[in-house]
């Protein structure tokens, strides 16, 4: 596999970097931009990543307008935060009615505008602006985006209903595109943006992945979804390959990486691949940015930071036992190791003599590879796909009776939104949590605060309709108060000691707080710092974790535990 060097590749004017949080897509995008600019090309880098640390990387204060970077002639950077934009949008809708409409009505409106879809649409809006701006097009040779639109957003925009009555009449406002309502005049801009994305000579999708099974599976999913939408021009970058084993941990990592890369999904294998070695430093400052895609050593920065001491996973479990929790969720974005943490918690509880039920979204037969069945532990599988399929069919069979074809197509796409997936899953939670009267229930995924609030508002509202519509199962009605009760519930925030995962967890955390869900513990998973390797690259990575460990210590008021890095943490779960 060739080492990634943007100067050796024929690149298109528009480059989109995509990948799950923590794979290094912002870093790769920044380094690519710097290299192209150093070759004399006029380059614009646009960030729409809410966790973007571009200001630190370039040591320049940025805004949503292109700012020239001192020290890299030819490079301009624009930083657009879709979370802030979505919040501003929400405020602009609600502000005129403060003091006029009652508070309960304003809260009701606010929650409807707080979904993840609003953020996605805000990001797409920014893509569309840049992609269709003629001045930008003529001023730059290359325009790089450190995120890419999701398949769901693109499919939504292609539906005729997205642009007809659903948005314009306002009466049938739908969930995901709510933010676009009244913007029918932007239709041409969106259409042009979508068209640009699918032109091979204009746009390249650069998939960034860690050389690790779960990350590669995620890249494969994104690759297939976007190629089905006509974005065929794709590259794969494997970021973080380790070289030169010198202790047990580093040689275990190297063999895990080699095996996972060799066994990557077949369709992904057909995409041109490049590698970036694991660097012993994080990207702050222009020198390091320029060094990232070369083998040049960088000067060590003396960190001199002391790390906040943390609890162990066992300490955390002891605390959960002592405080008599019987509903324990592990929460975090994909790839942070929620399932392995849930398994470890379940095992520790069993060792302490507790009766435990472990419910997992990973296929249960794989979990059995880890766990010996005992009379103390039962395991069940939440089949996300099946839950979603059941829910979708439930909705569509009813919708078919009354809706025309275009509106039905819209509902079908709406049902593919992340919000719908959560709601479908929620119905499964209710049944599992019901078991918590007799045993401790550990669940490896948790509902977001947004879903809970959304359901709460539809629930009280469904109660009023009970005679005609009352279909809300009793277990769901009981669920919300239980999750809000800190005497029995704990949602453990699982994160990694890296920029994006910590930012993502902060957002989930705020969301839970908003919904009043009981949560106090944080768990930092896969900590290289805790693993204590002798390998120079791994040691340097460990140093970089310190700031994020300290950040989590702050966020959790010191209630956090650390689990050390293990190379195989996701392998058995993805097979």
């Amino acid at each position: 596999m060739n080492v990634y060097d943007p100067n050796e590749i024929d690149l298109t004017p528009y480059l989109f970097f995509t990948g799950k949080g923590g794979v290094g897509k912002t870093t790769t995008a920044c380094a690519t931009a710097a290299h192209l600019a150093d070759q004399g090309h006029a380059v614009l880098l646009v960030s729409t990543d809410p966790a973007s640390n571009l200001q630190d990387v370039f040591q320049t204060s940025l805004s949503n307008k292109p700012v020239a970077i001192e020290g890299i002639p030819n490079l301009s950077v624009a930083n657009f935060d879709p979370v802030t934009a979505a919040a501003e949008y929400k405020e602009s809708v609600i502000a005129p009615y403060r003091g006029i409409l009652p508070d309960s009505a304003l809260e009701n409106m606010e929650e409807q505008l707080s979904g993840s879809c609003t953020v996605e649409i805000a990001a797409f809006n920014e893509f569309a602006h840049v992609l269709t701006d003629k001045t930008i097009k003529s001023s730059y040779d290359y325009i790089l985006f450190d995120t890419a639109p999701t398949g769901h957003t693109l499919r939504m925009l292609e539906l005729p209903s997205a642009w007809s009555q659903y948005l314009d009449e306002n009466t049938t406002g739908a969930s995901c595109l709510g933010q676009l309502s009244g913007l029918g005049d932007k239709k041409d801009m969106y259409a042009h943006a979508v068209e640009t994305l699918s032109k091979k000579d204009l746009t390249t999708l650069i998939l960034v992945s860690r050389p690790q099974a779960s990350s590669l599976i995620e890249a494969d999913r994104a690759s297939q979804e976007l190629s089905q939408l006509g974005i065929m021009n794709q590259l794969l970058i494997l970021n973080g390959l380790l070289e030169g084993a010198d202790d047990a941990l580093s040689s275990a990592i190297i063999s895990q990486q080699e095996r996972d890369v060799k066994q990557m999904p077949q369709q992904l294998q057909s995409i041109t691949q490049y590698a970036i070695p694991l660097r012993p430093y994080s990207i702050t400052g222009i020198d390091r940015l320029r060094a990232f895609l070369t083998d040049k050593p960088v000067e060590a920065i003396q960190m001199n930071q002391s790390v906040t001491p943390s609890a162990t996973l066992q300490d955390m479990v002891d605390d959960l036992i002592q405080s008599n929790k019987n509903i324990i969720f592990t929460m975090g974005k994909g790839g942070v190791g929620k399932t392995t943490v849930a398994i470890q918690i379940a095992q520790s509880l069993v060792q302490a003599g507790k009766q435990v039920h472990l419910a997992t979204t990973d296929p249960a037969n794989h979990i059995h590879l880890y766990l010996n069945d005992t009379d103390k532990l039962t395991i069940s599988h939440i089949d996300e796909e099946k839950e979603l399929a059941d829910y979708t069919e439930d909705v569509l069979s009813k919708a078919r009776k009354t809706m025309n074809k275009d509106d039905l197509a819209y509902i079908e796409e709406d049902l593919r939104s992340p919000c719908t997936q959560e709601i479908a899953l929620f119905r499964a939670f209710a049944d599992i949590v019901d078991r918590a009267d007799e045993e401790i229930v550990v669940i490896d995924t948790a509902p977001t605060g947004h879903t809970l609030l959304l359901l709460e508002s539809t629930q009280s509202y469904a109660k009023e309709l009970e005679r005609s519509a009352g279909e809300v199962p009793i277990s769901i009605q009981k669920l919300l108060p239980r999750l809000q009760n800190p005497d029995e519930t704990e949602v453990v925030m699982v994160t990694l000691p890296e920029t994006t995962p910590v930012y993502e967890s902060m957002r989930l955390d705020e969301d839970l707080t908003r919904a009043g869900i009981a949560h106090s513990w944080w768990l930092i998973n896969q900590s290289m710092y805790a693993a204590d390797s002798t390998h120079p690259v791994l040691r340097a990575r460990a140093e970089n974790e310190v700031q994020w460990i300290n950040r989590v210590a702050d966020l959790s008021d010191g209630r956090f535990a650390t689990a050390e890095f293990t190379p195989e943490f996701d392998t058995a779960l993805t097979k």
């Binding site: 306002n170 009466t171 809706m403 509902i411 539809t458």
Partner: protein
């Protein structure tokens, strides 16, 4: 001409597919209003709090009711500018009383043959 207005709470979609269960009342309301759009003697409209808050503020009767009992007063139904129902959706029978239009539930087979909205 009868003017029928419905003021609804904020929800993620008018069909109610986003709740913990599918809300058939909302699906019915959606198809009734679609049907009414083809009846010339009735002017029917729906206003959703999130997407159309102006409609709530500019209607004095709706605003007064909301100030008295908060969002629990929603949905509010108005016929010719007068509040006829608050807190729950009107039933099919009530809608017939308001508008003089009789609604017939279409059979499954007819919906698949024309893929329509009860208009064929």
């Amino acid at each position: 001409m009868t003017k029928l207005e419905l003021f609804e709470p904020a929800m993620c979609c008018s069909t109610g597919v986003c709740g913990p269960s599918v809300d058939e009342t909302l699906l019915t309301i959606t198809s009734v209003f679609e049907g009414l759009s083809q009846v010339s003697s009735v002017e029917a409209s729906r206003h959703n709090l999130t997407s159309d808050p102006d409609a709530f503020v500019s209607n004095q009767k709706v605003l007064t009711l909301m100030k008295e009992s908060g969002k629990d007063s929603l949905p509010i139904t108005l016929v010719n500018g007068e509040v006829v129902k608050s807190g729950t959706y009107p039933s099919i029978e009530e809608l017939t009383n308001y508008t003089g239009v009789v609604f017939v539930e279409q059979s499954e087979s007819s919906s698949s043959c024309c893929g329509g909205s009860g208009c064929c």
